[in-house]
Amino acid sequence: MTSKESGIVSGKPPVDAGDQSGAEISADRTGISRRGFIGASVAGGASTVLPAVAFGVGNAAPETPRPVSTPPDAVKMEREVGISVPSVPTATVRRAASDLMVQVLRDLEIEYVALNPGSSFEGLQESLINYGERPNHMPEVISAMHEGAAVDMAHGYGRSEGKPMCALLQGTVGLQNASMAIYQAYHGHTPMIILAGNDENNFLKVHTGEDIAGLVRPYTKWDAQPETLEDTLVALQEAYRQSITPPCAPTLVVLNSEIQKEEAGDLQVPRYSASEVKAISQSQATIIAQTLIQAKNPHISVGRLRSKTGIDNAITLAELVGASVDSMATFGPMSFPQRHALVGTGYDKNYDFHLGLEIAAADVSITGPHLKSVTDRDAAGIGFGWKEDPNLKRRPTPDTLITEDAEASLPLIIHAVESRLTTSISASIKERVKKHSIKNRDNRITSLHKAVEKKRPGWHGTPVSLARLYAELWPMIKDLDWCLASPSNFTGRHHRELWDHDKPYSYLGQYPAAALGYCLGASAGAALAAKNRNRVVINIQGDGDFNFMPGTVWSAVHHQLPMLTIMHNNRAWHMELMYVQYMAGVRGRGTDRAHIGTTFRDPYINYAKLAEGYGMKSEGPISDPNEMVAALQRGVDAVKRGEPYLIDVLTQPR
């Protein structure tokens, strides 16, 4: 939503899916009366209260005719090519306005601002690198070679840490370069703050616009174009708050170039009011707690929560009530630890109560509001993947779907459970936990043996089998704090069966919008998160994806990111190669030309040399699996020292 859409201008609270809190629980399976639950729901949860601030343009139609873009004159062109300098204030600036913008970001503990330098935010950039007692720290400037890479870095960081970092973009051009990455982050429900400089008066008109946020409005959650410094500071805080408030998503603030250079005078950074996330009501929590305690065999499914705190609370709840648990940790970040003793089907698959936390397939599911339900910013009606296919088979709607935030609701449920546990109930639960643990452990070992058997074929083959690559890597990293940042849908997903996903960031998941070019930047962003946390990042990198923005290799070297990149070098956009093969075969015209436009041949690309050119230690290409094992160990040793490393491995297609 824009500031106006959110109701901020008028002081009206934003439209919230909390209106749907009157959901019912099935009486059949839970023993809870629908009437009772409806009554309990009336109390509702706490509403998000946001400050009243008047911002810029939003979706409102301009009252005056828009100016027609004209070609740049000679003076402006001189500036663009660096012959002349941008405008500077005529009076001495004692306290730069952009210093206060940096202070807002610092207070919000934004660690990084990734940018590709532009000509509309030199004020802010100068403050980032020079302001304060510890300049260029919290946030630190990260050099990106492309605006898309800057946003992808913020995406990887956001998925890894559950909180935003910033991407700073240049006007219309930078925003458009970044648009695909923003679209991907939006579908990934990833918190991030996008800042776009806009120089309305003194620069190339083609880099400016009346409402440049409109370029990406359908796939950002909130934007503002403040017209004063005071509003800018509040907008930055609001962008942060909106980004981390469920449903999480990218937000955008358009920064006026001239405001950045103003004298701030005695203006103070406004006080930040923390986001209030809407939870279920106390009455709903009580009913859920009672049902969990009364159930003989409860089961909890945990999807993607927002933070480690949420995961810790989910663990507490499962252990308190002795529930077996489904985890989504092998599918993406912020879920229940995969190898926790309660994860699995448990000793009995006949569950008498199934609770879903951010998963909508249970007797009661607390799923949080969906982006589409909160705001529809697609004024042009483009659609952007929201169109429902009537023939698509969907999971059945759960008996009760509560669109409040699961993570915010967990403390209420835990408290309600704890206050109702008796000694005898606790003893019974303890016994159930023991039985679950034994059965889950047995199942896990059986599954692992089966998985290992499946990975053996092609073990000695050359090029290297992807199953072997994942298998060989695991013993080398299992005792480290690691994060697999790369999507694995094109590399066989072997980690799901072989590795232990026990951290919130163990696996950052698939491409949210199924668009290539994301993997390298997102891995670098995850490595930014890992850098000062004694963590290493694994990036099993498709070659097709790599070639979108290979310059990120330089960023990883420049900032010394602990990122091990292992090329899945199958020398093709392999999925598309197969699509063309199918089509040529179906038409009976032969498959021997299907490589045209789908492969990297003539010449092959040498990724080790490419990385070397960017300054990254590297080796390869390697097609012998035994040579790969030794190379992997050297790579792991490098990232343990905090150095990025690339290994070019020639692999089987899949």
Partner: protein, 148 residues
């Protein structure tokens, strides 16, 4: 409605394909009556490998016959004999082609001659995979032991 139609077509295809393969096995058609051993000697040194690559067989079957659908070690029933193999390919592509799908591409004779197909066949027959036991591969052993 479409699902029922697809199901009926699939069943029909299976029946027709099976009957064709059986009849081919029993036939003396000279066009597919090529000695496997002679063919193998002819192709392993070159054209079979090149054709396997050029026609993208590796996409699903890997460069060594280990992939989405394994071929190494003669595990595929379709590789029982040249006759069965050719019958399978032609049945799919010419006699009763299935609806367009993301399955194995069609190979009509116009795009892949019998001789070329048999060159690929002979090359595939050379695929041998001898993976270690899980207890003999250090990484697999470590994975198992780590879970105990």
């Amino acid at each position: 409605m479409m699902n029922k139609l697809n199901l009926m077509l699939c069943i029909g295809l299976c029946i027709v394909s099976a009957s064709i393969m059986l009849s081919v096995l029993a036939s003396d058609d000279p066009t597919i009556n090529i000695s496997a051993s002679a063919n193998s000697e002819r192709v392993v040194s070159g054209p079979g490998k090149q054709l396997y690559y050029d026609h993208g067989c590796f996409a699903c079957h890997g460069y060594n016959g280990i992939g989405k659908h394994n071929l190494a070690n003669d595990v595929s029933a379709i590789m029982t004999s040249e006759k069965v193999y050719l019958a399978f390919i032609r049945a799919r592509s010419e006699l009763n082609p299935p609806l367009p799908s993301q399955k194995m591409p069609h190979y009509p004779e116009s795009s892949l001659s019998d001789q070329q197909a048999l060159s690929i066949y002979a090359y595939i027959k050379t695929f041998r995979d001898t993976p270690p036991k899980s207890s003999e591969a250090a990484a697999l052993k470590a994975i198992i032991e780590g879970a105990q």
